[in-house]
């Protein structure tokens, strides 16, 4: 299903929008309709006109100065006064915002132990899917979400060191290349935005979080399973246990801020690994992988 014509009943202050994503308050400065349209369609409910400073992140998506405002127009992402990325085509303003927010969180949200992973929840227990790009993490995450799992995040496993809980931040899932059609076929009810062709990660289309995921975005979850997924074209579906020491090493390598947090991250991950069942999942068929995960979570 394509994104419908969402109304814009929300307050916009001047040239900026204040919104909440999981535990973070963000002030976004922009006037670009290419960004505002998908933004309101996906995140309209998260706009919070009552939010007050200080915000966790001050970001902007704006055209650069000079001729590139008009000739093959481009846009830049700003985090405070930093511009961490090269300019993007103006038509790719929304994917740029998404990558920019990820950059902001990965480089600044050090109150959490940050894993590069998808996280979903069922029956109060969370499934962590840590993976490298190209492993099929987002595709599996999207499929599980459309089988009733609650999405906490497709990008960040945010572990609160004090409690060991996973903190939600449900945002759009960026599906890439063939995954777009795979999810369209798997879940015809899925709400997908437009395809952005030829981005630096190939063709990208964003999948909206389910209503349940958004409604419960302030509800943390207890970790129960760590599954390292790997998509292998033509493969069957195997789920094999992973030793705790190997799981720890893979998670610490996968963390955005393990070195930075030092002993705090060590203790957090030690506790996480000890409290979870750990598996390696190799799959070539999405349906089989989903069935395996559902069996894992069966009461």
């Amino acid at each position: 299903m394509k994104v419908g014509s969402a109304a814009r009943p929300f307050v916009k202050k001047g040239d900026w929008i204040d919104f909440r994503t999981g535990p973070f308050f963000v002030r976004l400065e922009t006037r670009l309709p290419e960004l505002l349209d998908p933004f309101y369609r996906f995140y309209g409910r998260a706009v919070d006109a009552s939010a007050v400073e200080p915000f966790d992140f001050y970001v902007a998506v704006k055209p650069p100065v000079g001729l590139r405002r008009w000739f093959r127009p481009q846009v830049l992402f700003f985090l405070d006064s930093e511009t961490p990325f090269e300019p993007f085509p103006r038509s790719h303003a929304f994917p740029l915002l998404e990558w920019g927010l990820n950059y902001a969180i990965a480089t600044r949200a050090h109150q959490y132990c940050l894993l590069h992973s998808a996280v979903l929840e069922r029956n109060g227990r969370a499934l962590i899917l840590p993976a490298l790009p190209g492993s099929g993490k987002s595709t599996l995450c999207a499929a599980l979400m459309h089988r009733g799992w609650r999405l906490l995040s497709d990008e960040f496993g945010m572990v609160r060191p004090e409690t060991g809980e996973l903190v939600p931040m449900p945002r759009v899932i960026p599906l890439k290349n063939r995954s777009i059609e795979v999810i369209r076929d798997f879940a015809p009810e899925a709400v997908l935005g437009p395809v952005f062709p030829g981005t630096r990660k190939g063709d990208v289309a964003h999948l909206a979080p389910t209503a349940d995921s958004l409604a419960r975005q302030h509800e943390p979850a207890r970790p129960a399973w760590i599954v390292f997924p790997r998509f292998v074209s033509g493969a069957g579906c195997t789920l094999e246990p992973v030793a705790d020491s190997l799981a720890f090493i893979r998670l610490s390598n996968n963390s955005f801020n393990y070195q930075l947090l030092g002993e705090t991250a060590y203790r957090t991950l030690t506790r996480l690994v000890a409290g979870c069942e750990r598996y390696h999942l190799e799959y070539g068929d999405l349906e089989s992988a989903v069935v395996r995960m559902e069996a894992l979570a069966a009461p």
Binding site: S245, F248, I249, S252, Q259, G262, E263, Y266, R267, T270
Partner: protein, 71 residues
């Protein structure tokens, strides 16, 4: 798994080096004492090979800043 507060690094140790390190957390010990204690634990004869093996483990642990010789 061992985390070093000194270096901020995490080390994955196999069983024998981990046991040597654990024994040293109880207090200082010589290489010979460690060889005797680990030999008993592993039920092996403490000969020159075993002593050399423990010595190599101590050198490696020292290189990782996990142990240090006492003057």
């Amino acid at each position: 798994m061992v985390f070093s507060r000194l270096t901020g690094e995490t080390h994955l140790l196999s069983a024998l080096p981990a046991e040597v390190l654990r024994m040293l957390t109880e207090g200082e010990k010589s290489g010979a004492e460690l060889a005797t204690a680990t030999g008993a634990l592993c039920e092996v004869t403490v000969d020159e090979d075993w002593l050399n093996g423990i010595d190599r483990i101590l050198q490696r642990l020292e290189a990782l800043f996990l142990v240090e010789p006492v003057d």
